[in-house]
Every structure is written in C-alpha cells, then in structure tokens.
Symmetry: C2
Subunit: 330 residues, 2 copies
C-alpha cells in the first residue's frame, strides 16, 4: 500500500517529487523511497504541536516540491495522537498546497482514552479525512484484527482523489486518471494480489465489526493495559517517558511507548539493556530528534514475563545510579 | 519476483540500465518497466532460432547497456521452447557480457514431449542455469501446482550471483552485495511477504514432488491433451498455427498456442471472433512481429465445451471463405 502510494503520488505532478515525513515514523517508509530513488524531507512534530504545526508545515509546502505528507496516528513509535485541531491544520494545508495526505491508521481505534467501537455512533477514529479530500488511508489487518500472518491490508482512496485527472501521469501510465494509474498501473504491475482466502476472512471480520457483533477494540485493549503497567516499571526505576503529551493531555497507553535513561543516548542504552535481556529499537532510525529515546513494543511481552521485566529494570537502575552530571540533562 | 528482479538488477552497474526482452513475452513485464521508468529493448526470437541467436544477442549486448535478458520457457504466448543449443548460446552471452538471465519457468516441466517428472532422474527441465551462474529463475505455483488463488511463487538466485559485490548498488542500498540488496533492500521494501499458510502449502507440495509422491506433471498433462485437440479444430477450419517449430522439431502442445486466419490482422480477427463467442489476446501486445497472430489459452476451456468450439470455428470458416488474394500471404 505505502509503496504503491509513494510510487503513484510522486508521479502526479512533474514538479512535486518529494514526500514530507511528519516524524517520528516507520523507518521502512524512508527505505522504500531510497530503493526507488525518490526524494523525501522530514521534521520531528513533537516540538510543533497545536498551532505551531501550521507555520512549520507551510515552511515545507510553500516550496512547491512536496507531493505527499505521511504520518501514522496513533503514532509508531511514540504513540502520540494528533488532536482534531492538528488534523484540521494538516487538512487545510493539504487543500491549500494540493498535497496528498497519506494517513497510516495501522493502529486504528487504539486511542483507548475514548471508546471508539460502536458502529455508526461517535466518537470515531480521528482522521484528516474530515478536513480534506486529498487523502489515502492505510489500515493494517495485522494490527487491528491481530491477523498478521495472512498479509492483507486496506488502502482507502477518497473518491475525489481517485477521479483526479493529472496529465503528468501520462509520462508513466496509460491513463491520466489517478485512480486508474494507481490500480491498473502501479498495483497491477507491483503485486500479484492478495490471497483469496485472506480477502474473504478480512471481509467477514469487517462485516462482523460493522454489524456490532465483533468488538475488535475490546480484543486489543490488552495492549493499553499492559503498556500502563510496563511504563510504571520503567518510570519507577529511573527511566523517563520521552514522548508523553498530546498538546495538554497525557498520551494514551497503547502498542508502543518511548523511554530514556539519564546519561545515555538511545543507542548506548540499547547496548547496555541487552545485558539485562531487554531489546528494543533506538528512535534515531525513526526521524526523531530525541536521540536519547528508545521504543518499547508491548505486543509480544506476556503478563507472566512482567515480574522478570520489573526485576531486570530494578537491577539496571541499581547498577546505573544516576550521576548528578547526568541528571542535569533530564 | 519479476518486479523485484528488474528493480535490483537494473541498479547493479551504473552503465547497465536496460533490460532486453527475448519476445514474444508477457506484456506486464514491460508495463512494470514503464511504471518505474526503466528502459527496455526487445526482438522477436522466432526469426533467430538456433545458431542465428548468437549474432542477434551479440548485437544488443555488445553495446554495454543491457543489465538483464528475460524470456519464458516454455514460452507465453507462443509455447516455443528454447533448445539446449539456444540455452547454451544465451548462457555464454550472459557470461561474456556479464548480463543476468531472468528465466521465467512459469510452465516448468510442461514440455510434454519429454517425461520431466522423475525426481533425481533425467531428462530435466531445460534451463540456462546449466550454462551460466548469472541467472535468476522464476517458478509460479499457480501454474505448476494449479495453486492460483493463494499467490505464491519462487525466485531462485544462483549462489554466485547472490554473493556478487557491486559497488554501484550502494547508490540505493545499504549493502553492495547483490543478494542482500535484493532481499533486505528491494523485497523488504516492496512486499509485506507471502501469507504463512501458502508458504507451508508450497513447501509441502515441493516435498511431496521431490519424494516422488506427487507427480505434478501428470496433473497438468491435460493442458497438452486439450491443446492437441483444440489446435486441430482450428487448423481443420482454415486457421494456421503461427509459432509452430522449435528449430527443426514441431513445438509441444501445452498451455497456449498461437493462430491466425488468412486475410486478418490479429486485432481484426479478435474483433470478428467475438461474434462467435471466442475470446483471446492479440500477439501485438507481446512484442511479437507476427501481427496476424492471436494467443489461445487452453486452461479454462473444458472438454464439454469442445463441441461448441468446433461448431463456432466451422461457422466462422463458412462465413469467411478464404479469398485467393488473402491466401497468398499465408
């Protein structure tokens, strides 16, 4: 989905050859650009939350070279969620500069601060689709339905974008219609399609969810519950949560959280934690400016491993007493 | 597989930016090049069979811009099969000019003139892999095991090619090792991988075939049997087989065959056959120079439809008596 979108959106307008990443983000998306030789720019949104986001976006988009903006919401790796105010800003900027928003909803409905499962009833998943027609949404069945091994996802293109005519597409495709270039051009060339049994399974899960018979959010709330407990193990033992606020509200507990330890860079911390049997990834590869940060993923940590985790973090803290010189940089 | 191979092989050497198609071939492979903006050249091999193939290949490869040669064997759409002499020429040219041969074995073991199913015993599938280490083989489970809906195939890279160091790959990848650039670069960026259940199923079918318990060739011989009957319906009613010889030997009966009707281009013939309830594809889109040709696919034609097919071809022939002026161009 992402690969197909980057490939096609990048060819819509000759002068718009660059993707803007609202980081931190999924490192593979940048690798996809590099393998294809496509250009990208990025910034870490954490210092530009709320009203500040507008000027920051405008500084990139006004140059005229940006074809698409991409971010995930809830965010991988930081689990920050854009507020409605921020999504409105992003949508307005997409309209003003004719830029496509690629919204990665891999963790749809997992902002557990709200109850996002009641078919047809608000509150709904926050999305830029309320504020612009220039959008493509991505939903991963591996996360939302814990249906990982069968490799199927959804790419939802707005009707208006699907029907957009872009003469520059003719440089690469038979059609100048965006939707046709995407489906009969890029996706047909790129993929042998998705296993038919996975398509039936996904359709059945979507129907059951929409009929109110399958509360998929309830199934994944365990991630939030585990994150709450695990974050406490970390903060009780001298660690800090790196990305901790959505504007003026504490972030949700979910699939990921980010932590640091005074006096360590993220990469140093990872090297040291390995000796305690704890692995994670450094935020350095996610486009984050918080180079002291590390991403924890809660999904494969079982509750019966919690006592081990707590003990290991306690030992780490004992062995690494915080020096005054170090704590100053908190 | 093909898309990943074109992407990666094209980046191995800066000066080698073009793929050579030994046509006729699968039109989607050229579409994949066009969508990515990659260059390609082509020629129709039918007039350059046997010893003539060497000079023809040399005329393309000696220019120094060709990174890969691609063909299918048995061939889609014509069902011609390269002889051992021709494969040896292709392999020697690949060695001399350091060009990768992309051999599409979608119809592996379906040259029914030989018994190609006895594990470990000759005769084996003819392949360029006997004559060069510069090869990637592609096998489609949808054809060989009639396992279409589950979307899985095999890309087999020779060990020597996998371990090839190409500094120019560093322009796009973290590694200059071809195998790493392919797997951790292109394929990882391009694909979410293959459904795990399909992987288990394919592994089980391959094991059963190798243990001699599952004669997959016997399962697909029906294609050849049907082709033999269907070809007769066509030739008995004024049609000609377009690609009919492998050097001095009549081609095999298999998945596809090609036909023409005196006085018609392939596209005119298709338009006219539609009125008789017969559909096919024109060879014009396959890189063939035989623009009078049409490809017939036998796979979905059932034996209980044979009487209909025969009747329709007979009526077509009655309604289109061959004019002297037309038959001259046979």
């Amino acid at each position: 989905g992402g690969f197909a979108a980057f490939t096609t959106v990048n060819k819509m307008y000759k002068e718009k050859d660059t993707t803007l990443f609202l980081d931190p983000g999924f490192p593979v998306h940048k690798q996809q650009h590099d393998v294809m030789g496509l250009k990208w720019e990025n910034f870490d949104v954490y210092d530009y939350r709320g009203d500040k986001l507008k000027d920051k976006l405008e500084s990139f988009l006004s140059k005229g070279n940006i074809s698409a903006m991409i971010y995930s919401n809830p965010n991988n790796p930081s689990w920050i969620c854009f507020t409605e105010k921020e999504l409105k800003i992003i949508g307005e900027m997409a309209n003003k500069y004719n830029v496509v928003v690629l919204e990665d909803l891999a963790y749809i409905a997992m902002d557990f601060r709200k109850n996002l499962f009641t078919p047809g009833e608000p509150p709904f998943q926050a999305t830029v689709a309320r504020y612009t027609d220039n959008y493509i949404l991505f939903i991963s069945s591996s996360k939302v339905f814990s249906y990982a091994g069968q490799r199927i996802g959804i790419m939802a293109i707005s009707n208006k974008l699907f029907e957009r005519k872009c003469p520059d597409l003719k440089r690469f495709y038979n059609s100048d219609l965006f939707g046709y270039a995407m489906t009969f051009g890029t996706i047909y060339a790129l993929s042998a399609g998705v296993t038919h049994s996975s398509q039936y399974a996904l359709a059945a899960m979507l129907k059951a969810a929409n009929d109110g018979e399958f509360n998929f959010v309830e199934e994944v709330k365990e991630y939030g519950a585990k994150a709450k407990i695990m974050k406490n193990f970390f903060t009780d033992n001298g660690f800090k949560i790196v990305y901790d606020m959505d504007e003026d509200e504490p972030i949700a507990d979910g699939f990921y959280f980010t932590f640091s330890y005074p006096g360590f860079t993220g990469e140093e911390l990872l090297s040291e934690l390995i000796y305690y049997g704890i692995s994670a990834i450094s935020l350095a590869i996610t486009g984050s400016e918080r180079l002291e940060g590390v991403r924890a993923c809660v999904s494969l940590v079982q509750r019966d491993q919690f006592s081990d985790l707590e003990l290991r973090l306690k030992k780490f803290n004992e062995h690494h007493p915080r020096q005054k010189a170090n704590t100053e940089q908190d």
